[in-house]
């Protein structure tokens, strides 16, 4: 069985809601019915067939040949399938994902990628926009258990209200990484200002942190067995390049003391 492939024919004329193009929503549909699914976000009534050539039938392997910053909601609620995007995507990538794997050979150009995702792995070869893995306004949690791997850089508010799961960023992260987080782990080469502001629990790990908040207290150097355990897991999940982000020896800060104060920032 060939992968179910959506080949982009023309640049989208408007933002697209692609949340219907996941196995659970497509399983009882014929190719013709898939082509008639509405994916537009305005009254013009854009359907799949207007923008994509549909081929293949394997619902466990879905591919988008071509991407766009107007691709919103790709892989929403994905469960147990593999999804590949050859290009950029917009907002809400993998929102509420349960399991499986998403690979974006491009960048996350819109916010809230991986928000509320409880399982599975998302890998992005490019950069990630502001509010990636962050909670949508009013929600209690951002990323909630999935693993998010970003090979480039990430914007501000990465993992705002992160609840569980691991975010790996090979490059640097903007301001307010892990703000208000209640659990989980963010690992990157460098974090920007106001990292971990308001965090209750959870772990930030970085080579450098710009202007660490005064509400974090220094608690000495940290060399416990958790670091090699984490490094080994990261190596198996994301590769040796990401594993190198986990230090052998770290300087540990506890905080945010203006909040619950049971989180930590490990720098090393």
């Amino acid at each position: 069985m060939a992968a179910l492939t959506f080949t982009l024919k023309a640049a989208p004329p408007e933002r697209l809601d692609l949340s219907l193009l996941v196995p659970d929503k497509l399983k009882d549909l014929s190719a013709r019915e898939i082509e008639r699914l509405g994916i537009g976000t305005t009254p013009t009534g854009v359907v799949v067939g207007d923008l994509f050539t549909v081929s293949g039938t394997d619902l466990t392997d879905i591919r988008f040949a071509g991407g766009s910053d107007r691709f919103d909601g790709v892989g929403t609620g994905l469960k147990g399938a593999s999804l590949h995007v050859d290009g950029d995507v917009g907002a809400y990538l993998g929102r509420g994902m349960k399991s499986g794997k998403i690979v974006v050979a491009g960048s996350l150009t819109g916010p809230y990628g991986a928000t509320a995702a409880t399982g599975g792995v998302i890998r992005v070869t490019g950069n990630a926009a502001d509010a990636t893995a962050a909670s949508i306004p009013g929600a209690m949690a951002g990323l909630a258990g999935a693993t998010l791997i970003i090979e480039g850089n990430a914007g501000d508010l990465l993992g705002d209200r992160l609840r569980r799961g691991v975010i790996l960023v090979q490059g640097s992260v903007g301001a307010l990484a892990g703000a208000r987080m209640v659990g989980g782990t963010i690992i990157s080469a460098a974090l920007g200002r106001r990292a971990g502001q308001g965090m209750k629990r959870g772990t930030l790990i970085a080579g450098t942190v710009e202007d660490i908040e005064p509400t974090f207290v220094f608690s000495g150097s940290y060399t416990e067995a958790f670091l090699p355990l984490l490094r080994r897991w990261v190596a198996s999940e994301a590769g040796a390049g990401f594993a190198a982000l986990v230090p052998q020896v770290a300087q540990r800060y506890r905080g945010d003391m203006a909040s619950l104060g049971k989180g930590e920032i490990l720098i090393g």
Binding site: G145, T147, R164, G165, V166, G183, T185, R201, T203, T223, E224, A225, F226, P228, L229, L230, R231, R232, W233, E237, K262, E264
Partner: protein, 301 residues
């Protein structure tokens, strides 16, 4: 029936009778091999018989740093008991008192499949609210602050509910020293099988038992038939020149593993031969009606 003789040592045409048990396992690591071994040995101390110790436990094998979850030296420990509730209690008490307390030690799941038994799930409370949960993939770990630094423990471990306890080999010989030398070699060989432990001291039992006693309330008592002091009495199974008997007891995760362990023990003991005082190999059973698993010596000669 043809007599079985290996290297001049007679092999009784009998069988070891073994029982269904449940088993669990943990991996214990530490900064050095020395401290990993201390923690593993301490937590498997006083664990020879499930009746009086609550479980039967011992080190299964040593793990290189490449094989352990945190890249440090480690040992895999197996614990055999009757049921999940009993094993969970033993895990809590033994890991709590012997691994949590041991410098640098960390504790991980040692069996993947089966029902999950609580490990860090109960011991995390030692952290008094300062414990940190970390979920990596499907596994959850707890980081518990302790005076030395931090105790790292996995949330739960697996259980094998088709494990077997009670495989055994009896080594009969001329003198205590000669039988002990052969039993040491046999125990060492028997321990090389993965998934098999020999829970008694050094893997060797000197006081094999029979079921029942003349005294009310005793479930087991000395195995008259194999006591050299009781040679000549009706029912003695010893020849007049047999001066000592030692037993090896094996618990294992599968029938095949125990059989292989018994095989290695038997051949290691027989290698000593009559010149070094080893006369006969037998096995302990209760007539075959108590235990579901029978390991026939005929199958391993």
């Amino acid at each position: 029936m043809q007599d079985m003789i290996v290297n001049g040592v007679r092999i009784d045409d009998t069988f070891a009778e073994a029982f269904d048990m449940s088993a669990t396992g943990v991996v214990i690591t530490a900064p050095t091999r020395k401290w990993a071994e201390i923690a593993a040995k301490t937590m498997t101390g006083f664990a020879t018989s499930v009746i009086a110790c609550g479980c039967e436990a011992a080190i299964d094998c040593e793990l290189s740093p490449e094989e352990t979850p945190d890249g440090r030296p480690g040992f895999r420990v197996l614990i055999f008991g009757f049921d999940a509730a009993g094993l969970e209690l033993q895990l809590r008490n033994r890991v709590g008192q012997c691994v949590l307390t041991s410098p640098g030690a960390a504790c991980f799941s040692g069996i993947d499949g089966g029902k999950r038994l609580k490990l860090g799930a109960t011991l995390r409370y030692f952290g008094d609210g300062n414990q940190i949960a970390k979920k990596l993939g499907r596994k959850r770990y707890w980081r518990v602050p302790v005076m030395e630094g931090e105790f790292l423990i996995e949330h739960d471990t697996g259980m094998a509910d088709v494990a077997i306890g009670g495989g055994n080999v009896l080594i009969l010989g001329r003198s205590q020293a000669e039988v002990l030398a052969a039993a040491e070699a046999a125990a060492e060989a028997a321990m090389t099988v993965p998934g098999v432990i020999l829970p008694f001291p050094g893997g060797i039992v000197r006081s094999g038992s029979k079921v029942g006693s003349k005294y009310a309330g005793m479930f087991a008592s000395t195995n008259n038939a194999f006591c050299p002091n009781l040679r000549g009495e009706p029912g003695s199974l010893l020849d007049m020149d047999t001066g000592s008997v030692l037993e090896l007891v094996m618990d294992g995760l599968s029938f095949e593993a125990i059989l292989e362990s018994m095989k290695r023990a038997l051949h290691a003991a027989c290698a000593f031969g009559p010149d070094k005082g080893i006369q006969r190999i037998s096995a302990g059973n209760y007539g075959g009606n108590l235990g579901r698993h029978h390991f026939r010596l005929r199958d391993i000669v």
